[in-house]
């Protein structure tokens, strides 16, 4: 334990309840967070990184039990503290920043009051001073118009502003240890860049030790002084950021880093000279009085991929929904294979809709849990016009195609992991023999290694079937990996549209430039204030 150590986790082991897929959520993990540094704990879902942070807070979820080891913090073992002692430390000496800032704030209390509450709980500061200090904190986290925000409810301010409020709350009593559990995962990429900048500022300014939990190596590169990689509850590797990121020792770390999509588009061999499979011209869509799509015009050549990139609220999902007429267009035209899609109705629309299939974001919600995979695929095939026998045979072929074992045919979706379910969703879409596939954030819910595989699979399927793909994503890095063309959307408008390489390497619109600059993983943190 070094002098500067804020918290020392020593051989920590947390037991999972009986019947779980492994005996320990966290197994024999030792690490320390030092004053003035950011230690990033990276891992995929199920790696135990969030349980580790909960254990450090002394707040293990129900059913999990400490099975050994200690968490030493200022001479005390946090793992052994109870009730009142823990409460005295929480929010005071250790504070936490959460993943979904909007949900982390009480919807019925003004955000300023929620910052103030920390003083109310831990100090005897009079009300007026509490208010002034809360206001100062909100200013320090760069919230615009703190006086107005103070009197706002969480739903009245943006996600990024909510996260600044949560950070202000965490910093209120100058905690020695700050734990941030995926603090930017729920935020847009430009907002993420600003929050990461704030964390870098904190590191150099406030003399906290920061334990930063994330799944995103791009984020790690932006903020980490040291990195700990976790897998299946165990520590795989720990060391200075430069070593772990650029000269990883463990194979697992190497494969994880290799799977992180880069902003550099790989060379593509798609034939772009074919006629367009979909053309939309001046497409307009409304949500009530709000114009969600403003005269969008795009064309995708047959067999190629267009990635539509934008932040939340940019209209990218509305575009997808309007193209397949889940949402009725308010104007403009959509031509699919020479037919004006907007003029179709009834049976004709049903028939044509089969040619455009969608793969959704959430692989857990989009498959009927009561049907076997075979059922789902066969039904889709029959709806697509095949005979029952033909559809069954095709279903087995599709399982091969998406690289799932044929045994999957008789199982239900619950038996599959997120990545496998997304493969099933892809197979389901392909069972209809579509000409066009719309993938709406189809890899966003997946871990990077799985994400890379699914992207690879989609690319491969496109080559085999010649399908045209519209790929909706918020992540420019993902778009770079799969797209022939990129369209950047903002507030319902396409601000830039062109070949992927050109959009990424020589962006013309200022917003595209901003997005490219905000993609995490391009800048290492400034070294000042790093651990000695």
């Amino acid at each position: 334990m070094s002098e500067a150590s804020v918290v020392t986790v020593d051989r920590l082991t947390v037991a999972l309840p009986r019947g779980a897929d492994r005996p320990y959520a966290v197994e024999d993990v030792s690490l320390e967070v030092r004053k003035g540094e950011i230690l990033c704990v990276v891992g995929e879902s199920g790696s135990g990184k969030s349980i580790l942070s909960a254990a450090v807070m002394g707040a293990l979820p129900r059913g999990l039990k400490l099975a050994g080891g200690s968490v030493r913090f200022g001479g005390r073992d946090l793992a052994k503290l109870k009730g009142a002692e823990l409460r005295a430390i929480r929010g005071n000496e250790i504070a936490m920043v959460f993943q979904d800032p909007m949900a982390a704030l009480n919807p019925a209390i003004h955000v300023g009051k929620q910052v103030e509450e920390v003083f109310e709980i831990h100090t005897k500061i009079p009300a007026e001073e509490r208010r002034a200090r809360a206001m100062a904190l909100m200013e320090a986290t760069h919230l615009p118009e703190p006086a107005r925000i103070y009197k706002s409810y969480p739903h009245e301010i943006s996600g990024g502003q909510c996260q600044r409020v949560v950070i202000a709350m965490a910093l209120a009593l100058e905690p020695k240890l700050l734990i941030a559990d995926e603090p930017t995962t729920a935020l847009d990429v430009t907002t993420q860049a600003q929050i990461l900048k704030l964390f870098n500022e904190l590191r150099s300014g406030h003399h906290h030790g920061i334990l930063f939990i994330t799944h995103d190596f791009g984020v790690v590169r932006e903020v980490a002084d040291r990195v700990a990689v976790m897998r299946h509850g165990k520590l795989v590797e720990i060391g200075p950021a430069a070593d772990v990121l650029d000269r990883p020792k463990a194979d697992y770390t190497r494969s994880l880093i290799a799977a992180v999509p880069s902003l550099n588009p790989p060379p593509r061999t798609t034939d772009l000279s074919k006629p367009p499979a979909v053309t939309c011209t001046d497409l307009v869509a409304f949500y009530g009085p709000v114009k969600a799509l403003k005269e969008v015009s795009l064309a995708i050549p047959q067999g190629s991929t267009l990635a539509v990139v934008g932040e939340s609220g940019s209209g990218k999902s509305t575009l997808a929904r309007t193209l397949i007429r889940l949402h009725e267009p308010g104007g403009g035209s959509i031509r699919v294979g020479g037919v004006d899609y907007t003029q179709l109705s009834g049976g004709e629309l049903q028939k044509r809709r089969r040619l455009i299939q969608m793969i959704f974001q959430n692989p857990f919600g989009s498959l009927n849990p009561r049907r076997t995979v075979g059922d789902v695929l066969t039904r889709a095939g029959v709806l697509g016009g095949s005979s029952l026998q033909g559809a069954k045979a095709r279903a087995l072929e599709l399982l091969d195609l998406v690289r799932l074992p044929r045994e999957a045919f008789d199982r239900r979706p619950e038996n599959f992991s997120g990545g496998q379910r997304q493969r099933i969703s892809i197979a389901r879409a392909l069972a209809m023999n579509p000409e066009i596939v719309i993938a709406d954030e189809s890899v966003s819910a997946l871990d990077v290694s799985v994400q890379a595989q699914v992207l690879d699979l989609l690319d491969d399927l496109q080559k085999k079937t010649g399908m045209t793909m519209l790929f909706i994503t918020h992540d420019l890095r993902v778009a770079a990996q799969i797209a022939d063309f990129i369209a950047v959307m903002r507030r319902g408008e396409v601000v830039e549209y062109g070949p992927a390489r050109k959009v990424l390497k020589a962006p013309e619109h200022p917003y595209t430039r901003e997005l490219v600059a905000a993609a995490p993983g391009q800048h290492a943190p400034t070294v000042e204030g790093a651990a000695e």
Binding site: A59, G91, N92, D100, A103, P107, A108, E117, I121, M169
Partner: protein, 318 residues
């Protein structure tokens, strides 16, 4: 807020007009029927014709409806054919009697159910939670006429502690109130407690409660400051739905205990095909239902800042 209230009031008026039209259509569309009901089954046919002629029953239907509606609005509600007195002389006092019964029930039931629900939801799976859930399911699953019989058997016939009828003939009597209130409370408290519990459990699991916990807040602060307000949104709606139920749904209890309230009045009016009284009772019920809905909507918005005054909440109905 005033704009919101105006819109709401317009909706309420629309709902009331619709119901009034249906009531009128059902009860007065067939004029022969009305004459039979008012003059009695043994009246002579020409007597009925004369009565119908005299009371304008041969005018067009819409005109009759409008006249009827105007009379209702101007409080000219006619006379009960069964009691042979103006409706305005009996209905208000019966409504007040039921109001007292419902008021006392609410005053006891709401705090009890909310406290039980909150205690149960605070610690999901605890002994208190299991106890409250068991009690709730038990009381809600026994219909009120059964509870009335059981309670009467115990307190009236066996222990001889309480009177079996609540006629209030010699003025207001607390002892006569106990049984009807207990029956209603037992029946409705369980349901409200369960809704409160579910809502509290959800609040206690929410990320903002975790945030409060990580700020070092004590359990009492977490419950009172953070969870309670958000957890009360659903129960408030339920309470407001229970008020109209208490008004007309208590027929069984009122009849069982011979309590002279609105329920018994409606029951007797229906038994005796007392057309004008049924119409008046139906209209009063509508007023109460829409009024409580209106209050419930306003309270909902006060508790839940995410729904601002002026916006139409998704799926809002009257």
């Amino acid at each position: 807020m005033s704009r919101y209230l105006l819109v709401k009031l317009a909706e309420v008026l629309g709902a009331m007009l619709t119901v009034s039209f249906i009531v009128f259509l059902v009860l007065e569309a067939n004029v022969e029927d009305v004459a039979v009901k008012v003059l009695g089954a043994y009246s002579a046919p020409d007597q009925r014709q004369a009565w119908l002629q005299e009371n304008g029953y041969f005018d067009p239907f819409v005109l009759r409806y409008l006249r009827w509606l105007w009379n209702f609005v101007t409080l000219d509600w006619g006379s009960s054919t069964h009691y042979r007195v103006p409706i305005l002389e009996i209905l208000p006092q019966r409504l007040a009697a039921t109001g007292i019964l419902a008021g006392i029930t609410l005053a006891i039931m709401v705090p009890v159910a909310l406290i039980l629900g909150v205690l149960a939801g605070m610690r999901e799976g605890s002994a208190v939670d299991r106890g409250v859930s068991f009690f709730s399911v038990l009381t809600t699953s026994i219909p009120e006429f059964a509870t009335a019989v059981f309670l009467s058997a115990i307190f009236v016939f066996w222990l001889r502690l309480l009177p079996g009828a609540s006629t209030m003939l010699s003025g207001f009597s607390v002892t006569e109130m106990i049984l009807p209130v207990s029956v209603l409370t037992l029946y409705s408290a369980g349901y409200l407690a369960r809704i409160t519990r579910a809502s509290m459990v959800e609040a206690m699991r929410s990320p903002y409660v975790r945030t409060a916990l990580m700020k070092g807040a004590s359990t009492s602060r977490i419950v009172l400051r953070h969870a309670l307000r958000n957890a009360l949104i659903a129960p408030v709606t339920v309470v407001m739905l229970q008020i109209p139920w208490l008004l007309s749904g208590v027929i069984v209890v009122e009849v069982f205990f011979a309590y002279k309230g609105f329920g018994t009045l409606l029951y007797e009016a229906a038994l005796n095909t007392d057309v004008y009284l049924i119409e008046a009772c139906a209209m009063v019920s509508v007023v109460v239902v829409v009024a409580t809905q209106l209050i419930s909507d306003v309270l909902y918005r006060l508790l839940n800042p995410r729904i601002r005054f002026g916006d139409e909440p998704a799926g809002a109905t009257t």
